[in-house]
């Protein structure tokens, strides 16, 4: 396989705070520090952002074929409109695919049925007919459903297809392994085969921790479908992303320079092996950015002496050129005693991402506090978070941080709400979306019609426009 070495100079200098230009058929790598110029003679913490931007697929080119397994919950709780909508959504999704794609359909209740064994989609009608005949009833063998789907998908696994399991479930897994860690373990294993699982939770009875563990460990998406009427729309969005994959098996290696200490990588499950940070992304989508933010401790250094922070290598499979590409970038900082100089060189975009993910970690901590029943501490943390985000939103003029600030404020009011089950699902979903830069599926902040009672005190917030993030 052809390997194209491309060096993208993401050099940061005192005079220029620019990112390098990119080729149209390649993923764009941006490596940048939140503070290209740091205070001299002081040990400081800074954010390093590694951003990957999926190129636009040329209209003329053939879409990347997919190998997708649909896993539908047909347990008793799906009876009625839920299963009807789910079947309709699945049929619509199948109709969008073509003969180059590979499809399998697995349905489960107490037991599992491989409704459509993995096959090239040459006979759409047959597949759709089978889906339409599904009848609900029984309990929820979620783990087994995903297990069988993975086995189906694996039958025709190759590097030319986008491998994806799309799981729709409305209930607690009550037959078979059901711990979030067990689903996470399966997800992590699937990710190594470049199979990602998108976990869609329907209604209010599913276990969002289990779904998030499965999705995040496998690099898929997570969706909270509060109302069955949204199933088709969200399926559609999921397939939009699946069908817009431009790169796969993206492996990011950050060699952190000696003396600089990598502290943590937000969100993304990266390994920090000493000075070497390794992370993998299963897929990159067309015209979408995925990034990771590494927090580093920078040692105290004298003014005017540039310091290399990290060398970044990215290897990926280019789905357009069918080649393995390599991108490199590096980041360094300089030091100044002048606050003015320091401030003038701040990379707003990187800082914004760092602040956002930092606040997201605290948001997760607030959820844990709330789970433990410490509502007061949880609220305090969310309000502190809101303050923190607000400060940076003003400094950076960031709409995104402002929206996140509002989200934290609203969440702080919902901690004691009788609809906490619902709000928790929304909270976990937003945490996941922030970590993974998932573009779709933002939670609806307005109270759902299915809950009678007083309207929420908060006025509609622009926070739901999170998808403005690019």
């Amino acid at each position: 396989m052809r390997r194209i070495g491309k060096t993208i100079a993401a050099a940061v200098a005192l005079s220029t705070c620019l990112s390098a230009p990119t080729k149209a058929s390649q993923v764009a790598l941006s490596v940048a520090m939140s503070n290209p110029v740091l205070k001299s003679d002081e040990k400081q913490t800074a954010f390093l952002k590694v951003g990957l931007n999926g190129f636009k697929m040329p209209v003329t080119s053939r879409r990347v074929p997919v190998n997708v397994a649909l896993v539908l919950d047909k347990s008793g709780s799906m009876k009625g409109r839920k299963i009807a909508e789910a079947k309709q959504a699945a049929i619509q999704a199948v109709r969008r695919l073509n003969a180059d794609d590979i499809v399998s359909v697995v349905v489960y209740d107490s037991t599992v049925e491989v409704l459509v064994p993995s096959t090239k989609l040459t006979d759409k009608d047959a597949v759709c007919r089978k889906i339409s005949q599904v009848q609900p009833g029984g309990r929820t063998a979620l783990f087994a459903g995903v297990s069988k789907a993975a086995a189906e998908l694996r039958k025709f696994i190759d590097r030319d297809h986008v491998n994806r399991i799309v799981l729709l479930s409305d209930g607690m897994a009550n037959i078979g392994p059901s711990a979030p860690s067990e689903l996470g373990s399966l997800g992590a294993s699937l990710k190594k085969e470049n199979i990602s699982v998108t976990a869609m939770g329907l209604g209010l009875d599913y276990n969002e921790d289990l779904m998030v563990n499965l999705a995040s460990n496998s690099g898929g998406n997570h969706v909270f479908i509060e109302d069955e009427t949204q199933i088709a729309a969200l399926f559609n969005k999921e397939f939009n992303t699946v069908l817009s994959v431009v790169a796969q098996e993206v492996s990011i290696t950050i060699e952190v320079a000696k003396g600089v200490r990598p502290v943590r990588v937000f969100g993304n499950q990266a390994e920090i092996n000493g000075q070497k940070v390794v992370a993998t992304l299963t897929q990159l989508y067309s015209e979408q950015e995925k990034f990771l933010v590494l927090e580093v401790d920078v040692p105290a250094s004298p003014e005017g002496k540039p310091l290399d922070i990290a060398q970044v290598n990215v290897d990926y499979d280019n789905m357009l050129t069918r080649a393995s590409d390599r991108l490199t970038g590096k980041a360094s900082v300089n030091f100044s005693s002048s606050d003015k100089v320091i401030a003038s060189c701040v990379n707003n975009e990187v800082l914004e991402a760092g602040v956002l993910l930092f606040a997201n970690e605290r948001n997760k901590a607030a959820t844990i506090l709330r789970d433990k029943g410490d509502i007061k501490a949880a609220r305090r943390m969310l309000l502190q978070n809101a303050d923190y985000l607000k400060r940076y939103a003003a400094d950076l003029g960031s709409l995104q941080l402002d929206a996140a600030c509002n989200l934290n404020t609203i969440q702080s009011r919902n901690l004691e709400d009788v609809r906490w089950t619902r709000f928790r699902k929304g909270m976990v979903l937003e945490q996941y979306r922030a970590d993974t830069q998932q573009t779709y599926g933002a939670v609806d902040l307005k109270p759902s019609n299915q809950y009678p009672g007083t309207p929420q005190s908060a006025s509609p917030q622009p926070a739901q426009k999170k998808s403005t993030r690019k």
């Binding site: 491989v114 783990f143 297990s147 078979g176 392994p177 711990a179 399966l186 992590a188 920090i272 092996n273």
Partner: protein
Amino acid sequence: MILIVVLPLAGLTWLGMRVARDDEASLQRKFEDVFAIQIRDIDRIISRHFETLSSELSATARKVEDHPDDIRALLRESPQVRQIIIVDTTGAVLHPDPATELNLSEREFLHEAQELIRDRDLIHAWRADSDHSQRLPAAKTDKEKSAASNLPSASEGWHVWYWGRGVHLIFWQRRADGNVVGLLVERGRWMADLIAALPETVDQQHEEIPVGSTSRFRLVDSMGDSVYEWGEYEPPEESAPLVESAVSAPLASWRLQAVVPENLIAVQSSGILFQLVTGIVAATVALSVLATFFWREYSREVRQASQRVSFVNQVSHELKTPLTNIRMYADLLADDLDNLDDGSGDKASDRLRVIVSESQRLSRLISNVLTFGRQQREALVLRYRQASVDELVRRVVEQFSPTLERLGITTELTLNAAQPVSLDDDAIEQILVNLISNVEKYAADGGVLKISSSLTTTSVTINVADDGPGIPIAMQHAIFEPFVRVSSRLEDAAGTGIGLSIARDLARLHGGDLRIADSATGASFSVELRTSEEDRK
């Protein structure tokens, strides 16, 4: 009559139930056998799955190099493996080396595996001498103890490790340098792959495993929680399995279960039950028909007999009136002849006496028949009157005297019951007549007829004894039954065979009895009569 039907039916039902129960038990055994075989087949799938997995992991283990970066790189491309541990011959952990900078996953693993690493026996087993190393793809393992410790020659095998949410599998391999490489198998993954290898409810891949619509197979973990299920039958929660068996190593703490509906065996055996019920119904019908036939025959005979009795009754009644007239006119005629002084009537008188005697005999016969008829209709009623028993005795003996004289029987009376008591004199007379008739009939060879009577405050006893041939002991019970006679030969004696029966019934009606009394010779009867209530007062 009902017994004719019920008893055989009960017997038949009991037998049938036993057969059905035996059959059900054997059916249950058959079912268990069938499911046990299926479970064995499933277990074979599991064993094969782990054999394949162990050979894959064996290959992976051989790729493990010493440098942490290489190990981490290998982990990133090995979906089956979560972590890798290397232990040297002294039991020290070479990787993940706590002295170096470890990533989060490695630190977590070391933390979780502390107990495992401290288990010196285990480490010892892993690094045991490899002089004659042999491949054991699935060395049997047990909780916290590798069975490999019993098989020190094994160079690789499974170790089962209980931690957190249950069973964890470690595949270990001893290398040439004596170090042991342990691969912690990704728990979610091996469970998923195992599930994928097992059949589905609607299965297109495992044709060798029949999936009945009436069963549910379950793979349950060491905690008894279901890991995976298949089969169309949806059992209620907590339903007990028909057949259960442990899974082969390394998952020896897991079990395979077959659950069937509780009524499955009942449904299968209902065929036998149906046959049984059909048989019983048929037998009932047949026996009922038979019983009805017998009943109708019996009632027809009873009806005919009672018709005969009633005919005889009517005839007797009809006979009685003219006979009474004959007797009356014969008596009158005898008186007239006696009044003739010339003695010319003597011969005629003798003949007339014969007529009177014979008519008396006929009269007795008829009254016996009529009494018997009333007895059969249960219409025998006593009419109490004041009467002297001795007088009655004398009157009856007087009646019989011509006949007795002719037969040469002398009469010896010892009468001590002259006082009148309350009794039915007609009935007593009939008793005496019947007894003396018997003497006349059976003891016709002469001798003495002894009649004695005695009286107490409550009863009268009359003894009638003769010098005749007596009653054979074998007959003594039977003679009181109607129509039984000591001799049935026609020429022996005349009679209807109901005399003694009537006599005893009449005595019993009086609250007394008629018994055969002890006697040295001949027959001796003893009549005991309770005198009526008012008399006793």
